[in-house]
Amino acid sequence: MRRSILSALVVGAASLALAACSSGSGDDSGDGGASSTASSAPQLSGTLTVWVDETRIDSFKPLAKEYQEKTGVTVKLVQKASGDIRADFVKQVPTGQGPDVIIGAHDWTGQFVTNGVVQPIQLGDKKSDFEPVSVSAFTYDGSVYGLPYATENIALVRNNKLASDTPDTFDDLVTQGQGVVAKDSTVKYPVLIQQGAEGDAYHLYPLQTSFGAPVFKQNTDGSYTNEIAMGGDNGHKFAEYLQKLGKEKVLNVDIDGQKAHDAFIKGQSPYMVTGPWYVNDFKKANMDVTVLPVPSAGGEKSLPFVGVQGAFISAKTQNAILANDFVVNFLGSEAVQTELYKSGGRSPALTSALDKVDDPILKQFAAAAGTAPMPSIPEMDSVWQFWGKTEVQIISGKASDPDKAWDTMVSNIQKAIDG
């Protein structure tokens, strides 16, 4: 995914040279198409270039065809590697070689806006047709920059064979899990929350929010400010709770995503905190699972991060009208959102399409979603790292004073944001 600096520069320089050699993609000056009849309504023509990564392209292939049949506009899907698509977009839009539209995740918004490579999208009155959290995810400094089409979030997945009812608090859940472990020798873990050496603040966030320590303050429109809100007493309480879970071996740094996944499929734990991406594997293993909100550990409601998929429009598109029509009117329609849900397996962002979702598991996941989109500020990469690593240090006991470690983390994150 990441290369050494020098080779990145070589590639960057070479791609600049190559990009200048390749023909312009966004530029299209079709001449109105068919003029054989005296009809006053000329056919639409032109080409929209859409960048999409390998995980999403299969969902978009039929849509490109559909849009072309409907309007006559050719949608040229360009498959980019998921590791490069974001950086390539930032680098290539200024040269005029970027696409008209890019399909991606909402947490790219901050970087795109500070680099001036995307343009605001006017949803107008359509705004209220979408799930509020999906629009606020794409909101940055008061403007909306992407059209949401799918949302996903983590929740508590229960193996119904090992537990049939779930208590209201996380402490009781751990006790219940430990009871199952004591009774059944194949069961090894009361609950699985993936970590790994780099930490995983994302999977611990429901527990953290239940202590009233959200990462940043939210604006009234649901978007984030740069003000860190996870410091202070509530943050300390959560840090101390992490230390307790680490001491009790409920949380284990060595269990990463793959190990948690395998252990849950083998029936080694009654609970796992995870997202819809593993559900197909659970179904294949003939498991009977129920999805529930993560029980509160600190008294308040637990809110997992919501990740939103959507489409951005390039700031330098030559086809702004067509791009807007494709993104807002086509991708924002109920039929297309439903189609994307069926091919992509994620909950639609459009409320009317979401209401028609018939998959019970997906519905349960959507019900566990809250009002907290993942933050999208450009400094988020470094926030994740400080956050995850500090949590790992607390869980593993390397940081013996959790409050102090948490305070250091908050001040380091503040420094990283201030630059």
Binding site: L9, S23, G32, P94, T114, P378, S396
Partner: protein
């Protein structure tokens, strides 16, 4: 581990010129017949140069299409040189040198030049493009929809040849253009809240609107004579909204002004619009910043505390890596050089195996094997010990060296085997006859003779390990982190991975900084190598 070895292999010059195999003198001898009856080599040459020309012309045309004049000029120059070199009879040396020189220019000199150029700019997140791009992005991002205003179904019209918007407001059809605020449009037909026909104006269909995309999306129509009432704009050609700009750009003074507070933002030396209070507008643009990037790393208080530690470890890692791999490789080479060892060929091939795997793959496998609870090393080899190989600062350093030893000794084994076999046997024999023991032979004969051919490779290996980003990144990611450190820098971070962390993982990407520091590292490595090579010259005088 060692690409440089491959790079040193001389490559045969590629030449499509069959004719040049003859000596120039002979060519001149049968000049006339050669011109009349060109050999088959000539046709091959003609075809190859024709292909090169065709590609070049294609490149020139497309580059001219996007107004990249630098590329047009360099491609044209390149084509002239190629054609001259292969069709001129006097340019025999050039026939061999031109392809190599051209590739050297493109892949080495251009890249180095570009890196040097970037090092003197503030290119990175927030300074991604030109000033005019920044101005248009700031203007676009700071349009606010007037609160409570309606969405207007809009009709794009041509009013006297000029683009305009026709909307329906309070039941009254109105039209306006860029210079003309909205005014009543008499005799218009309104269907479904939208103007569908009107005398004196031409109504554009969606396809026509799409063709004039740029003009339509940039068209701004004032709602009334008072600019404060806002302006109509459309993004999709069907619905218009009333906007009022939060920030307004004034081209004559080159400033942005906040419409509400009156605060002005002026361009700064660092490529940003900045207010008097120091508020910065994003995005900025790329500007030259002189030597700032070169000094930034030393002035960043977050870095300076860790800099010494990382530098020491980088030198220690590079030196110890070379030393351990060399001595293990040498030891094995001497053992398997002894004719008394049976099955030497099999052993030798097996020992080279680690060299055959890609280093990043091996590093990932080792990372798994060194996992505390589930790793092969703890679980099987140490019967369930829970040693935190990659989590403890010193053990992690040891693990990194150990894995690099595993990765690197086959290379040293290979070159030592080769060098040992080239040491003449009679020297050894005479040493033995003089009564030297095995250790004495090794120290006084084998090692010095070996060093003559191997020392330059050791220096190259040192330079390589100095920048061994792959191993560190894949095995430990620089970790374990220094607890509470203000940057993501760990106990096994090398200078190069520290720069990566500072320039790319600490918030925004900073290409300028990354380029500058990689130049500094290059200078450091170059200096050490130069000193090293000077020392090895004295070895050759043995």
């Amino acid at each position: 581990m060692t690409e440089q070895q491959v790079a040193e292999r001389p490559t045969a010059p590629v030449s499509g010129d069959g004719g040049s195999r003859r000596s120039p003198r002979r060519l001149r001898g049968d000049d006339s017949s050669h011109a009349r009856r060109p050999g088959s080599g000539f046709w091959v040459k003609l075809a190859l140069v024709a292909i090169v020309d065709a590609l070049g012309v294609y490149g020139i045309l497309t580059a001219a299409g996007v107004h990249s004049w630098w590329i047009v000029a360099s491609l044209a120059l390149g084509l002239v040189i190629v054609n001259w070199a292969y069709f001129s009879r006097r340019a025999v040396p050039a026939k061999y040198l031109v392809p190599g020189l051209l590739f050297l220019l493109v892949y080495q000199l251009f890249t180095m030049g570009y890196t040097a150029y970037v090092a003197f700019t503030n290119y990175g997140d927030g300074h991604n493009s030109t000033k005019s791009d920044a101005i248009s992005a700031i203007s676009a991002q700071n349009q606010e929809r007037v609160e409570g205003s309606a969405a207007y179904p809009v009709t794009v019209v041509l009013d006297g040849g000029e683009l305009g918007f026709a909307v329906v407001q309070d039941g009254q059809a109105e039209v306006g253009t860029a210079d003309q605020p909205l005014q009543p449009l008499d005799g218009a037909t309104v269907e479904g809240g939208k103007v569908t026909a009107a005398p004196g104006v031409e109504i554009l269909q969606f396809a026509q609107i799409a063709q004039r995309s740029d003009e339509v999306t940039q068209l701004v129509v004032q709602v009334s004579d008072d600019p404060a009432d806002g302006t109509l704009r459309t993004q999709d050609g069907t619905t218009a909204y009333v906007f009022s700009p939060v920030l307004k750009y004034d081209a004559s003074t080159d400033t942005f002004t906040d419409a509400k507070t009156g605060e002005t933002y002026t361009p700064s030396d660092h490529g940003n619009f900045v207010s008097a209070d120091g508020d910065v507008l994003q995005p900025g643009w790329r500007v030259g910043v002189g030597f700032e990037n070169f000094t930034a790393l030393f002035q960043d208080s977050r870095v300076s505390s860790l800099f010494v530690q990382v530098t020491l470890w980088t030198f220690a890692f590079a030196f110890l890596s070379v030393a351990t791999t060399f001595f293990l490789g040498l030891f094995l080479a001497m053992v398997f050089n002894d004719p008394r060892v049976r099955g030497r060929k099999i052993y030798r091939s097996l020992l080279i195996l680690p060299y055959a795997f890609p280093a990043f793959l091996s590093a990932l496998v080792w990372k798994g094997m060194l996992n505390t609870s589930y790793g092969f090393v703890n679980k099987v080899l140490l019967h369930g010990a829970s040693i935190d190989w990659l989590g403890d600062p010193w053990l992690a350093k040891l693990s990194v060296l150990g894995v690099n030893l595993w990765l690197g000794f086959p290379y040293m084994f290979l070159i030592c085997t080769g060098a040992l076999q080239s040491i003449p046997g009679d020297v050894m024999e005479s040493a033995k006859l003089d009564g030297a023991g095995p250790f004495r032979v090794f120290r006084s004969i084998t090692l010095p003779l070996l060093m003559v051919s191997v020392a330059p490779l050791l220096i190259a290996s040192f330079a390589f390990n100095f920048n061994n980003f792959t191993l560190i990144y894949m095995l430990t990611g620089g970790g374990p982190d220094v607890v509470g450190a203000p940057l993501q820098i760990g106990s096994t971070d090398l200078l190069i991975s520290m720069v990566y962390s500072v320039a790319f993982e600490s918030g925004a990407a900073r290409y300028g900084l990354a380029s500058a520091v990689s130049i500094l590292i290059f200078i450091a490595v170059g200096l050490i190598s130069w000193l090293g090579f000077r020392r090895t010259r004295s070895l050759e005088e043995l």
